[in-house]
Amino acid sequence: MNRSLRPLMATVIIFAIAYAAAVMQFPGLLSTRVLGNFLTDNAFLGITAVGMTFVILSGGIDLSVGAVIGFTGVLVAVLISSLGLHPLVAFAIALVVAALFGAAMGFAIHYLQVPAFIVTLAGMFLARGGASVITQDSVPINHAFYSYLSSLYFRLPGGGRLSFVGLLMVAVFIVGAIVAHRTRFGSYVYALGGNTTSASLMGVPVARTTIQIYMLSSVLAGLAGIVFSLYTSAGYPLAAVGVELDAIGAVVIGGTLLTGGYGFVFGTFVGVMLLGLVQTYIIFDGTLSSWWTKIVIGFLLFLFIVLQRLVFAASSRGDRAPQKA
């Protein structure tokens, strides 16, 4: 098997085992309702994580995504509620703003050679601060189109709902996977993650690709912000605090190496679902206090990475077996 597929396989296996174990304890977890909720509730995280996957594959990191979600939400809300724009116009504006923001970060990372960690940290402060400068309150969005979008869903047998935002996330994952694995841009992303110097000597347009990667991440975070605002019908400057860590966690659990160059978009999907499963499991359990919740999440995270290493080690044994002629 291809070496780089192994962590992905590990994640998928762990997810399957974890899900089976959880269902044994709470059969309710198998209902279409829970499955539908998985997609809907994690839609904004999933969309963000797709962008984060590209960033991490290229060897970078984007700490600003949570703040960008908050900022776009507020921007969209203010554009619709205060300025009376049509939501679609507001979406377009928000995505353009997000794209510019991402481009500026990519520009700073490439041309000023400041580490991505720090540029995007400053970006996080800026977006979060910008949102609270626009408004401190949470701004409700009342618009017919909004209610239409947010209540758009297919009913599944068994009371579950397949919502518009859930499907949107799936679509973003599919497009993301195609872009990452089947386009030149995707191969450039992996190239940057492999070795920037080599990539540039091999003719990869490093500056353009870097800027595009951070643009992509910010645009997807912006899209996630729109989804979040659909989800809550409001824009709130403090929305989605800390989502960047969840997104990074999902990407890494999904088998992508933080050092860049290895990983799959699909792995991130499994990672998001795994995080969702942990949360749902804890809710179903319902006996954990605030602190035990944190301890258990930390412990499960630990368990996943250790298991992943074990599966990885087990499958890489016999890697360089001598091929006697």
Binding site: N2, R3, S4, I178, R182, T183, R184, G186, S187, Y188, Y190, A191, G193, G194, N195, T197, S198, A199, S200, L201, M202, G203, V204, P205, G261, Y262, G318, R320, A321, P322, Q323, K324, A325
Partner: protein, 504 residues
């Protein structure tokens, strides 16, 4: 518009790094259908020149012409669009991607805007076959040896170059057959009218392949000549600015009296890596290790040094059994190891030359017996001088040194630990004739001082020059041990081949 016959031309090109002038108004012209050797000592500026010719660096002065027209090459990609392809000195590929993708990155065949993987793999397979490489194009490049990667890099460059092909020390990690194949490919390209730049430190290869030579010294152009106007001695004199004795090929293999045994490996090996081997190494002896690509020479060295600890057999040092489970153990017992992949395993790029030299000794001394700055400077100065390291300052980052000088730094690092047993994996890779002779001399000197050495090299002439005994590896198995009369390139080749036939 000035018209010249040159396919590509550099006029008065200069490059300055900080205070150091790496290139000083260099003139360089390439004719279509020629193989042009670019020669010079380590640090002469060869790699810098080709980086400028391929847009990886911007010149600080002068201009570049392609087909008589002035161009500004602002990136390798831009250079590629002019049909200029290059293999850089350090293998610059992506270990994390498949072989096929490394071959086609940026030019992947597409269908409906998406990369057509199947076609890409198919084309890659065909392409690699020209170089006799039967590897799976969808396998990860990083899982292959340096040599394989080198071939892939060459295949990529050839593929991209419509007009100019630049090869910076492409043969450094190739064995004879591979070199031969490469030469055939280059000859074919030459017939097709490509202009080819060829950088190497192997003068034999220069004479075998090149039509013209350009010689650089200290960043200055010394001469450009047709090769048939030059003798070997003249060439070397131009490169070094002085005469040298070819100690390498003239040294005498005196049958040495067998002295004390230093280390004795008995049935030593590691499952799934190297078959158990037995080897007795005496003080004052050089064991040469020969073998084909991927025959397991590097792996054997790593086992000897405890990086991948052996799981069977015993090692006896000075008559006492020793357990060598880590590099730290090995160093404690007076071992040293110069790895083959200098960039990945040898050099601390950001650290200074001084720190790079003292680090192994410091590692041996431990955390708390720190060498102070003066001691470090002393040591670095002493061993730097012994190895003739050309560095503007001992405090400059080692990554700014030329490839050959980096190799010398690593050697100096181990000599500073005063080892009893030194393992050198391809120590002369990428080293100029002067330094090459220097290293061969050093190996001989160390042997005479009573040190035991194991030297892995793909250069049979070189192995023959300094080895007291030669072991031949094949398929990760030690298949022959040659001594005395048998130590000659012909016998070695035969040993590899014969055993190969037997095994097949």
């Amino acid at each position: 518009m000035e018209q010249t016959a040159f396919r590509m031309e550099a006029r008065g090109v200069s490059k300055i790094f900080g205070n150091h002038t790496a290139l000083d108004a260099v003139e360089f012209g390439l004719l279509p259908g020629e193989v042009h050797a670019l020669l010079g000592e380590n640090g002469a500026g060869k790699s810098t020149l080709i980086k400028i010719l391929t847009g990886a660096y911007q010149p600080d002065g002068g201009k570049i012409l392609v087909d008589g027209e002035e161009v500004v090459l602002n990136s390798p990609l831009h250079a590629q669009s002019f049909g200029i392809g290059a293999v850089y000195q350090e293998v610059n590929l992506l270990p994390n991607r498949s072989v096929a993708e490394n071959l086609f990155l940026g030019h992947q065949p597409t269908r409906f805007g998406l990369v057509d993987r199947r076609r890409m793999d198919r084309e890659a397979r065909v392409l690699l076959q020209r170089y006799g490489l039967g590897i799976d194009p969808s396998s990860e490049l990083g899982t292959h040896s340096v040599a394989v990667q080198q071939i892939v890099a060459i295949a990529r460059a050839v593929q991209l170059s419509g007009k100019v092909l630049i090869l910076d020390e492409p043969t450094a990690s190739l064995d004879r057959d591979e070199v031969q194949r490469l030469f055939e490919v280059v000859a074919g390209l030459k017939r097709d009218g490509l202009a080819i730049v060829f950088i190497t430190h192997f003068l034999d290869q220069v004479f075998a392949l090149a039509d013209r030579v350009t010689i650089l010294r200290n960043g200055k152009l010394i001469d450009t000549r047709r090769l048939d106007e030059l003798t070997r001695t003249e060439l070397v004199r131009k490169m070094l600015g002085k005469d040298i004795a070819f100690s390498g090929s003239t040294s005498l293999k005196t049958e040495r009296p067998v002295t004390d045994v230093l280390i004795d490996y008995e049935g030593y090996g590691k499952k799934r890596s190297v078959h158990p081997f037995s080897l007795t190494i005496h003080k004052g002896e050089v064991i040469g290790v020969a073998g084909l690509l991927g025959s397991g020479r590097t792996e054997m060295a790593r086992i000897m040094f405890g990086i991948d600890p052996a799981d069977q057999g015993t090692a006896t040092l000075n008559g006492r059994p020793v357990a060598i489970k880590t590099a730290v153990d090995a160093i404690k017992h007076g071992f040293g190891f110069c790895p083959e992949d200098r960039k990945a395993d040898g050099i601390f790029g950001e650290l200074s030359v001084r720190e790079n030299i003292v680090i192994a000794l410091q590692g041996k001394l431990g955390w708390f017996r720190a060498l102070n700055r003066d001691e470090q400077l002393d040591l670095a100065g002493q061993f730097g001088e012994a190895m003739d390291i050309r560095a503007a300052s001992l405090d400059m980052p080692v990554k700014l040194l030329s490839g050959g000088n980096q190799q010398k730094v690593i050697l100096a690092r181990w000599l500073a630990t005063d080892p009893a047993f030194l393992i050198l994996d391809e120590p002369t890779r990428g080293i100029d004739v002067g330094a090459h002779a220097e290293i061969v001399r050093t190996i001989n000197r160390l042997r005479d001082d009573g040190m035991a050495l194991v030297v892995i090299s793909s250069e049979l002439d070189e192995v023959v020059a300094y080895s007291s005994r030669i072991v031949v590896m094949r398929d990760r198995e030690m298949v022959a041990e040659l001594r005395g009369e048998d130590i000659s390139p012909g016998v070695i080749v035969q040993a590899i081949a014969t055993h190969g036939e037997k095994a097949a």
